[in-house]
Symmetry: C2
Subunit: 340 residues, 2 copies
């Protein structure tokens, strides 16, 4: 950073013939200063092209009006939508966002947390990576009293705000739909069940099965991951076993897509030979499939907005508010699968 561009309060002060303090106050609209000098100071600041130094400001005021965000991925429609919502509401509330990406890597996530704390963000929003198991850093954050909100991907720890989608309810309604259509052999591609989203969706599946008196066959709960590849692989195994269900409820859209493609690869027709229902629609990508799948719609925008709102609220209340979990509703959207 070159020197010359550093116009400081002192420069303005000298020019207007007042003290630095007066300038500082005037520029921040402090009521102390008379409107005449205020105007004069602002005018000169504009002329000089003054740009306040956040570093200095934050260092002395010990607050940054900045929220740190950590997500597992960016180039995934779910996250990119959530992120955009966070940015938009932050802009409205005049907060800055510092976004980091863990790439589903727990170690990288930890490094980013440290960086953000180093930057003295006022609060944190985090959607944990698939790998994240160690909660030591979160315990410290709790001890230090830094406002943190878990979003969508939460870790099992008390004392923090969290904002999640109604994963269980959404899964339930998807499976219920399959049952109402008349299916009895219902498989679930469950992804990782050590993460809340996997666990909750599995619970939703199970409770729907139970409610309608259907038996949950262990071989029809297919574990793996959340990616397309996992869907493909899982389907192949199932297909080779010669024991296909009537319908598959997939834990994420990529998994559903993997299944979809594998099924087509084996010459099966969707939904006639094998039916599918998905959690998520990949930001509309689903509409381009023929046939498009019925799916559980996720409240991406709301997740982002609510997470930011909660975090800022907590910052303002100096982390004294009672931790709560906000569950946002999902919605079943019927397309061309799992319908009569």
């Amino acid at each position: 950073m070159t020197k010359k561009f550093q116009i400081t309060l002192a420069d303005i002060a000298k020019k207007v013939n007042v003290s630095k303090v007066t300038v500082s106050k005037a520029l921040r609209g402090h009521p102390d200063i008379s409107s005449t000098t205020k105007e004069k100071i602002k005018q000169v600041a504009r002329e000089l092209g003054y740009i306040p130094n956040y570093m200095a400001r934050n260092l002395s005021s010990n607050s940054s009006r900045t929220i740190g965000v950590i997500v597992p991925k960016i180039a995934h429609s779910f996250f990119s939508n959530v992120i955009e919502a966070i940015y938009d509401s932050a802009f409205e509330q005049k907060y800055e966002i510092i976004l980091t990406v863990s790439q589903e890597n727990a170690e990288r996530e930890l490094q980013h947390i440290r960086s953000l704390l180093s930057m003295r963000v006022d609060g944190l929003i985090i959607s944990v990576s698939q790998q994240t198991k160690d909660d030591a850093i979160f315990q410290k954050i709790k001890k230090w009293g830094i406002p943190l909100t878990f979003m969508d991907r939460v870790i099992n720890i008390q004392g923090f705000n969290s904002v999640v989608a109604d994963d269980q309810g959404g899964a339930f309604s998807a499976v219920e739909q399959a049952i109402k259509v008349g299916y009895r052999k219902i498989a679930h591609f469950a992804g990782y069940t050590h993460i809340n989203i996997g666990k909750e969706r599995l619970l939703g599946y199970k409770s729907a099965m139970k409610k309608y008196g259907l038996t949950v066959r262990p071989e029809w709960i297919v574990n793996g991951g959340f990616s397309e590849e996992d869907g493909t692989k899982g389907f192949k195994t199932l297909y080779d076993s010669g024991n296909l269900p009537e319908v598959i409820f997939a834990v994420t859209f990529p998994v559903a897509l993997g299944v979809y493609r594998a099924a087509q690869h084996y010459g099966l027709t969707i939904p006639k030979d094998i039916d599918i229902i998905s959690f998520g629609n990949s930001g509309g990508l689903n509409q381009f499939l023929s046939p498009p799948m019925s799916y559980v719609e996720q409240p991406t925008i709301e997740l982002g907005r609510k997470a930011l709102e909660l975090t800022i609220e907590n910052v303002k209340q100096k982390n004294k508010s009672i931790p709560r979990t906000i569950t946002l509703p999902t919605r079943l959207v019927l397309c061309k699968t799992c319908v009569n």
Copy 2:
């Protein structure tokens, strides 16, 4: 931010019985300090859970190892891929990224530039909004000597690095393909031609037409915007005029999609009744269309990586390097349109 968590150099210094400076140097691996005290200091720092204060560090060292990024959108596959690439290479090079989103709004863009300058980022990467016309701020940035790289969306101003895709070449090869297939009536949906990407792609279209001796009919250059809606609207106008071309080359994937859907809406079959070729494929979304369109592939990852690389290089050379424009190659990908 609560006080108690602010472990400072002084705290460590007191405990180890050395001065702050020694601690500072030790923690940064400065060769001055003996390895014994270095180890001891690091040990204590770890115990105390010391987290350095970037604000203070950057304020006194007058550099931040941080690059500011401004993009028009996040929730668009092109940008989310570019952004992810920027984040990944920044992580490799131990730089921090501060990302902001203009939402295609010039005023918001300006505010973000100010914020980032306020934060004293070491350099800037910017992909300008559709609206951006005023170059005053860029002139100032040039004067101040702050490294800035334009990426993909550039503004017409000298003296900055830029990284762009070969828009003209890509457009040329797309149109050439249409011609080779045998089409003569070739329309171009051109979006905004005041922005480089629109302008360059239009040039590519024109030069291909010229090379093969085809006349460019003014009514077949359809201006508008870069969105799906613009494609739809443009196609409707064209359709109503009763004077449809054989093939449409669309400036962006969303525009192509708008055309695609409008054509289907009128009962036209693609590519039989009307053919289409697109610039961009929306991160693979194109593959879900039936038929998928042939398209010009954009070098998203390379754009991001190169932009960061160039910016950091420039930071290191204190903005003394000669400004250059890097044009990254595009690639024509043939699918089910514009083929024999």
